[in-house]
Structure formats: C-alpha cells, structure tokens
C-alpha cells in the first residue's frame, strides 16, 4: 500500500509517501531514528502489519517540520530517505 501523509493547500502539495509493501520487509526501521524532527513512528496498520507511519500531529504541517532538511540550495540527501534501505520513503516536494 502507498500511504500518503500530508496535505495540499494553496501553496502546493506536500506529501510523504511510504510504500508499506516495502516497509514490511525492513527489519531495522532506521528511518525512525534518522529523522531529526521525529516525524516517524512504528504502528500496527489496519491489516495487522507493522509499518512505519508519520505521526498524526505532524501530518498537517510536514512542509514546516521537514523544512530544516530542505534548504533552498545545496540540498543534501534527506536523512529519512537515505536511511530507508528498501527505498520505501519518497517526498513530493
């Protein structure tokens, strides 16, 4: 399942997508610790699979919470994307 967490408003579309089919296979879930803003958490989803999700309190402000990792120029690789070995995490912006 592709779980899109985030929102779209007048300023654009801001979604973090987690491919849970890839996430299920991952054993270390290093993305959780890699995020400096602590956006990620491990949950049991509706189908009883343990997967990573974006915490509820961050879902409507990902644009701002991810801001520190996304400077306007010379953007380094995103820590969450880099830490995710199965390549399950993508950002829309």
């Amino acid at each position: 399942m592709k779980a899109n967490y985030g929102y779209m408003d007048g300023s654009g579309e801001f979604f973090i997508t987690i491919d849970t089919d890839l996430c299920i296979e991952c054993s270390d879930r290093s993305c959780v610790d890699a995020c400096p803003a602590a956006l990620f958490e491990i949950i049991m989803d509706d189908y009883d699979d343990e997967v990573v999700a974006i915490k509820q309190e961050h879902r409507k402000k990902v644009k701002y919470d991810c801001g520190a990792c996304k400077p306007v120029s010379d953007r380094p690789p995103l820590p969450c994307v880099e830490a995710c070995k199965p390549g399950a995490i993508t950002h829309s912006w």
Binding site: M1, K2, D9
Partner: protein, 295 residues
Amino acid sequence: MGEKTKEFWRWKEYNWSDETINPKEAETISAGVDVGSVSSQAVIMVDGKLYAYSNMRTGSDSPDSARNAINWAMEGTGLTLDDIHYSVGTGYGRVNVPFANRAITEIACHARGGNFMYGPTVRTILDMGGQDCKAILCDERGKVTNFLMNDKCAAGTGRGMEVFSDLLAVPIEDVGELSLDVDEEPPPVSSTCVVFAKSEASSLLREGWSKKRVLAAYCSAMAHRVVSLLERITVEKEFAITGGIAKNAGVVTRLERELNLKALKSKHDTQIAGALGAALFAKSLVEKQRKKAVQ
C-alpha cells in the same frame, strides 16, 4: 420557521432494516459504527448480509453519538448490544466508540465498504466526507493499495457545501439539481478555501448572479478541487464516490465531466460505506477469533 432561522444545511436523518432477515437465527451479527465529524452511521450485518442501519448527525459527544447511532439502527429489530458478536468503530471518533471491540481507520473501512457496495471491480473510491476528502485505490478484495487524504481545510467537503446551502438559503438536498439548471457553466469560485469562496459568492450575488449560477460555480470549484486530489493517485477504473457529497448531482456530474468517467451507482446509501466496511471487518475479526479458539 422563518427563512432566517431555518437550517438549510440540515439533511434528513433516518434508519432502515431488512424485515426479511431474522437475526435470531444468525450465526454472526457484526456491527460497524462510523462516527464522523458531521454524521454518524451504524450498520448491523447478519451473516454478512446488510440487515439494518442508521444515519444521523454527530452530536458534540462522540460516545453518545455512537450509542445513539447503534440504538437507532437496532430500533424495532429486537436486538440489543449484547446480541452483537463484534463491533468495529471507525471515522474521526473511532477511538470514542465505547462498545467497539476494535478501531479501524475510515480509509480501510471505506475501501472495504465500497467493495461490498459497488462490487469487486471498483478500484478507485472517492470519499467526500463532512470534513475531509479521501482518494483511495483498492484491489479486488477491497484492500487499500494507495490513499490520499485531505483534511487540512474544508474546501471540497460536505461542510463547505453546508456553508453554501445556508448562505444561499437553499435546502442542501436541492443544491445539486439546482446547480445543474443553468444555461451556461459559470467559471468556478475559489477552490482553495471555503471562506474565500463564500466571500466571492457574496460578491457575485451582489453583482446580480442568480442562486443557481452561484451554486453551479461552487459545485464546479468543488469538483475541480477533488480532481486535483484524484490526479495525484491516478484514477483507475472502476470509479465510485461515497459520502454525503455523492448524493449531490451537481458535484458528481461535474466530476464525471472533468474525469471523463462515469461513477458507479449503488442501491445502498453512499453515506454508510464506512460503517458498512467496519461491519465487514467486524465479521472477519470475529470469525478469526473463533478459529483461534478452536485451535
């Protein structure tokens, strides 16, 4: 009641039950309760068949709304809460359903409910709820494969439509048909914010636009807003709409026009999809429990 105090946004609440089914002979009675931000529904299934449901406005207290919804669905059936083997709560208030055995997100429930209502060929479900809008892709079993939810603002939701119904003093049930009764489609009003759209509509009324024309502009804006959400997940055939807005012909027709797709129709009330999915989950979960107990 004078026009000033009349609540034009208020839609009809009701309950229903299938008198041909005898729940006393049932092996499994499951229930799903969807406590949404605007409306609450309770669905009771008897051995996987739709038996009874209720659809009412959510009150200020989620546990009370859940109790009222299930009690109204059971009214006249002879059932009590003790007769229900398993209940699942869903929707915004899902964690506040006091009698639920489990809470499941409305995304998974709408996919499952949509699969029951529209058949296994449905792949895209658009749930236009009271306070959010969800685009869901699912497989032939009703399992979610992709979803997108917009609950940050009221644009593209039922609440936004209620605001317009009240502003124009048009009963909410008539909004869709009236919006289609225009000679020429007007340009849409602001689709990014209900407050902006409302002030724009007030200006248009002052300019001399008819109510029908303003409603057409708003329904068009709402359809446009939702299409941009759907485009992000790529609409797959077959396509269906659930939630209260699915009853608004003005939005549905414009959505179909923009997507160049016909939405599937169901004989069931589109507002019960979430609760129906929850009741289906409840049935599966109680059967799983029984299997475990036997092993």
